[in-house]
Subunit: 191 residues, 2 copies
DNA sequence: TGATTAATTGACTCGTCAGTCAATGGATTG
DNA sequence: CAATCCATTGACTGACGAGTCAATTAATCA
């Protein structure tokens, strides 16, 4: 049972790399398997079909992202400090490495038709939202919900724009815009 | 030369519908041609290959969107009025009809690797940005640029979230969030 | 009308790919 | 050491799809 876990991880890592290299989910399972150093049959053996392999890959990305958020939140108790950490995590290098961007874009496409992808995406949205609301509430009270929706949307949009703009290398400006939006939202409260 | 234009339009319309029905660009040119009521060969005859057909489709969608913006701006001179019109246009029914959503998502995927798609996307971003800045300047001065970047990102992000959430039917709440963000940005100026 | 050009067809090629499966190799265990 | 079980292979199939092309039909025009 040890080999299985190891192989799964290797295949998932290979999926990210391969999708990243091609930009699309139009990569063959054989390509992925080759990159993982195993035979094509093994990928089917462990994941059943291509879609399941990809969904497992997204779950892995989401798990990593969640762990990163939690890690960056450790020891931070001030609401603004926590909010900043959450927002910044979305633009941390790991979110752009390998094929994370390509995986996300293809995930969006898949989410239109795959209930399982839809479920995963909704889960991610909900977690992100409540993370924000938790820290916004002490600062904004009932306005927390609305602010969180706007910040969440902004993060998604700027991530998208940043990721697709090859002339951008450093996500710094995008993060700055998100933090500025937070500042604006908070300052508008006492208007 | 009349037939050519007509056929091209029909094939483009069929592409939108077919991609919309499948959610993905993984539709065959034959499917598209069938839906347009012509033979597969004709699609290749006029567009060369599948990617060109899709790019022509996106250009068409972008052109329609641009025309809609201009139409909705007619007669509006007040900055806030103009901004509202621009922002609302992004969530108008036509942006969700047929396969517009699917086309956009697949366009994002393609933009990772196709220079032509990248160019188109950048063009759209630039136009949208300067549209916003033009009306924001009188209200916000030098802050116009930053505000426009944030509003632009927010529109993209909320569009994405809205489009992928099947439980949403009416884009009203998304529009409301964008307008609220505009309001917040403007109110923060006199802080 | 007959000739020339444009529009359109659909059968065909060649390659590709998801998924299967029977066979092999390697551990483990009793 | 035999028997059993898990891990792994890679050849194979069946289907499909992009793009080509020679042939057909429709329009144009002199």
């Amino acid at each position: 049972m040890k080999a299985e876990q190891k192989r799964r991880q290797e295949l998932i890592a290979a999926t990210i790399r391969e999708i990243g290299a091609e930009g699309t989910l139009n990569v063959t399972v054989s390509q992925i398997a080759k990159r993982a150093g195993v035979s094509p049959g093994l990928a089917f053996h462990y994941f059943g079909d291509k879609e399941q392999l990809f969904l497992a890959t997204m779950r892995s990305i989401l798990r990593t992202y969640g762990a990163l958020i939690r890690a960056n939140l450790v020891g931070k108790t001030e609401p603004v400090e926590r909010l900043t950490a959450i927002l910044e995590t979305n633009f941390s290098p790991s979110q752009f490495e390998d094929g994370a961007v390509a995986a996300w874009l293809n995930f969006y496409v898949l989410a239109q038709t795959s209930p399982e992808a839809q479920r995963l995406l909704a889960l991610y949205h909900r977690r992100f939202h409540s993370n924000l609301v938790y820290s916004l509430r002490p600062l904004a009270g009932d306005a927390a919900h609305g602010i969180a929706e706007r910040l969440g949307g902004l993060v998604d949009g700027l991530y998208l724009r940043f990721a697709l703009n090859r002339s951008h290398v450093d996500p710094g400006p995008a993060v700055a815009q998100v933090l500025k939006a937070l500042e604006v939202e908070l300052s508008a409260l006492d208007g």
